[in-house]
């Protein structure tokens, strides 16, 4: 789900948003704040986190990335510059969060009861998290394939110039995509906060994993991201089984090997 958001931002809006993890962090902390201060159910706060992160992403694209886009002479320069700008946002968002919420890690307990399912025990909050993640991905997939806006997004991803000629407001679609990517990250963060500890610097780790997943699947290919996530999950489990300390090393190795052999990814164009 995290990777799908990133894939959308890179595939369509051409921004390799390395501050993606910071949106996850934001979603997580919003949920945490609402739960501990007001006692709002984390699942209800999904409804709040989504629009907030969406708006933030949308505005960011409208103000910052569009400017960089019009100032850049070629797509390559735009990709480089926008990536650097998003590095800037890592610093900004992380430290704002530290100033607001403090640097320590937080957590709360919600639905932390064991549930028996098919003979094995699971924590209820993880099951809920998994269920909602799958549902959100499904809804999102339907949105992309079945609606007119989804069609416009796919058109803009394939060929922005032609899409513009066909009467699609490309700039708006790109901003929409960036916002949707942020929305996915925010929702993911919200869900994550139910079962993991959260802290302002948590984002980067997720960003790196998301980048790896997206590269494996093919930058800009949303189906690829699903496949990439699946492959990475399998490899992670196998390596963790053999040598637990090396799973991150394995991720990086696969990532780098893939960049060397086929930088465009499994389903890349």
């Amino acid at each position: 789900m995290i990777a799908v958001g990133l894939s959308l931002q890179y595939g369509v809006a051409r921004v390799l948003n390395v501050s993606h993890g910071e949106f996850i962090m934001l979603g997580a902390f919003l949920t945490w704040t609402m739960f501990t201060l007001v006692g709002i159910n984390p699942l209800v706060s999904l409804v709040v986190c989504g629009p907030v992160t969406f708006a933030l992403g949308f505005v960011l694209y409208r103000t910052v990335y569009r400017r960089i886009r019009s100032a850049s002479e070629s797509p390559e320069i735009f990709e480089g510059n926008s990536m650097l700008a998003s590095f800037g946002f890592i610093f900004i968002m992380q430290n704002l969060a530290i100033l607001i919420w403090g640097a320590s890690s937080r957590g709360y307990s919600y639905l932390a009861v064991p549930v028996k399912l098919a003979g094995a025990e699971f924590a209820a909050n993880r099951l809920v998290m998994l269920f909602f993640a799958v549902m959100i991905c499904l809804v999102f997939y339907l949105f992309l394939t079945r609606t007119r806006t989804g069609k416009a997004i796919r058109a803009a991803a394939l060929d922005p110039a032609a899409a513009g000629i066909m009467g699609i407001e490309v700039n708006r679609v790109l901003a929409l995509c960036f916002g949707l990517g942020a929305l996915m990250a925010g929702l993911a963060g919200s869900l994550l906060s139910m079962s993991y500890m959260i802290q302002p610097t948590m984002g980067f780790e997720y960003t790196i994993i998301a980048i790896i997943v997206v590269v494996i699947g093919g930058l800009g290919s949303i189906q690829g991201s699903f496949i990439g996530g699946f492959i990475l999950g399998i490899i992670g489990t196998i390596v963790t089984y053999i040598e637990p300390g090396l799973s991150l090393v394995a991720y990086y190795l696969i990532f780098m090997l893939l960049l060397l052999v086929k930088p465009s990814g499994i389903l890349g164009r």
Binding site: L16, V64, R67, I68, A71, E73, S74, E76, I77, E79, G80, N81, M83, L84, A85, F87, G88, F89, I90, F91, I92, M93, Q94, N95, L96, I98, L99, I208, I211, I212, V215, G245, L246, L248, V249, Y252, L253, F255, M256, L259, L260, P263
Partner: protein
């Protein structure tokens, strides 16, 4: 000719540099210990930024690997500090970074644009996680001790590396290799068609710039006395030179130096009292610089001379 004017006039710039050097040389004799340490820090960032710019400036390959090369130097100091003399470790550290850069450059420099940036970022993280795993499982410790060296020695070694790196950057910028690197940045295919061995040139330049970072890593490690993988391979060291070079402007030699001095001083002012504000300001400046100052402060100064044609046509004005 606009970018090269400053070099062809033998007067002002060289004299200014010479004067600055004359002030810096006897400094530890009269300045406070604090100033010496601070200047050592500033030198470190200048070296890393300048050597980053040697490769990434003209070729436009965004390398996020400085932390890796720096860390190699740090670990060389930790591993060989008890065995070899200081100059020997510094040279070893530089050489090891050089070798790593040749290896990495050899396999990765055909990646373009952000793929290269992502690969180099992955490299740093790969080394950190692997090293941590290795230390825990085989040597039983996470951190290591480094033989410490007194501040004055650190200062002079840093000054020496600094002069060496600036000299290298200056000479390279003037030579035909500098021009060749720039043409790689403008259009790599055209560069290779004009008979430039682009691969070799890229790898060698990348490795030279890495060896400066490695040497810096060795000498700065002696100041920390204790290191672990995360300290040695600090990702901030990968981002800092990029930001410093962007803000200073990469077209002139003094751009990265200005950027490095400015940020190190800002860090010194803010980081002890408001560490988070420093990073916050750092991020804001980065975004603003990319938005409004694509050529950096140095580029701003240059803009007064002539309005250059943009991007792909820039070679006509060089």
């Amino acid at each position: 000719m606009s970018t090269r004017k400053g070099f062809s006039r033998p007067g002002s710039a060289q004299i200014a540099l010479f004067l600055i050097l004359m002030v810096l040389l006897p400094l530890p004799l009269y300045a406070s210990k604090y100033t010496v340490v601070l200047l050592g820090n500033i030198f470190m960032y200048i070296v890393i930024t300048v050597s980053w710019t040697i490769f990434s400036g003209p070729t436009r390959y965004i390398s996020l690997a400085p932390a890796a090369f720096f860390g190699v130097g740090v670990y060389t100091a930790a591993g060989l500090g008890h065995v070899l003399s200081l100059p020997a470790i510094i040279i070893t550290g530089g050489l090891l970074s050089f070798c790593l850069a040749v290896l990495v450059g050899g396999i990765t420099l055909r990646l373009k644009g952000i793929y290269f940036a992502m690969f180099t970022l992955g490299l740093v993280e790969l080394i950190v996680t692997f090293l941590r795993w290795w230390e825990v499982n085989f040597s039983g410790t996470v951190g290591r001790l480094v033989v410490s060296v007194d501040n004055t020695t650190v200062y002079y070694v840093m000054l020496f590396i600094l002069v060496l790196s600036i000299l290298t950057a200056h000479l390279l910028g003037r030579s035909k290799y500098g021009l060749a690197l720039r043409s790689i940045g403008e259009c790599e295919e055209a560069a290779s068609h004009t008979g430039i061995n682009t691969t070799l040139l890229k790898i060698v330049t990348f490795a030279v710039s890495a060896s400066f970072m490695g040497a810096t890593g060795v000498i700065m490690a002696t100041r920390w006395t204790y290191i672990d993988p995360r300290i040695a391979f600090d990702l901030d060291l990968s981002f800092m030179p990029v930001v410093m070079a962007i803000i200073g402007g990469m077209n002139q030699l003094y751009g990265p130096i200005l950027g490095a001095v400015f940020f190190t001083y800002l860090e010194e002012l803010l980081i002890t009292r408001f560490p988070y504000y420093y990073m916050l300001i750092f991020g804001i400046i980065l975004v603003v610089a990319i938005l409004y100052l694509p050529r950096g402060v140095g580029g701003l100064m240059q803009m007064r001379q002539a309005k250059r044609p943009e991007g792909k046509h820039a070679h006509t004005s060089n």
